[in-house]
Symmetry: C2
Subunit: 66 residues, 2 copies
DNA sequence: CTAAAATGTCAAAATCTTTTTACATTTCAA
DNA sequence: TTGAAATGTAAAAAGATTTTGACATTTTAG
């Protein structure tokens, strides 16, 4: 499971801390997700996609045939 | 957070047990998600969408402005 | 209607995500 | 190059999801 969060976040010049703030989660959560430490919950993923004006399918993708 | 899993699953005449089997999760997990007991992990949500030939955004939706 | 199949539900345990606090490393502007 | 800001990381605790096993209720086929 990988994602393009860092990419889209930087394109918009937002800090991890600000993203976290807008989503009411901790900065560490954003950081961990960006660095593929674990699978976020669906709600957080959807809010992230919405904030970054993207879709879940575009922002996150399963590797190979999973 | 609501979803259309039961709807799409029935349209395909699949049982909860079979959906669970194909996703390697328990039947109770499928049942609980169908009945909005909690937010699934993103990976499970994406696999569900894929299996039901849908997208996460189409299968799941946040209420109001969340 | 009746039996079997499918679904709903519960509770305890296991597993995983998220928070918090704290510090190390990297990046970037001055 | 130096210092400040941003990011990376770690570990313990809290909170949420998932599993397991068991049983109740609903649905469906015969």
């Amino acid at each position: 499971m990988k994602n393009k969060i860092k990419e889209l976040r930087k394109a918009r010049k937002i800090r991890q801390e600000d993203l976290a703030g807008q989503l009411n989660v901790s900065r560490q959560t954003i950081n961990a997700i960006e660095n593929n430490k674990y699978n976020p919950t669906l709600e957080l993923a959807m809010k992230l996609a919405k904030l970054l004006e993207s879709t879940v399918e575009e922002l996150f993708f399963l590797e190979d045939g999973k």
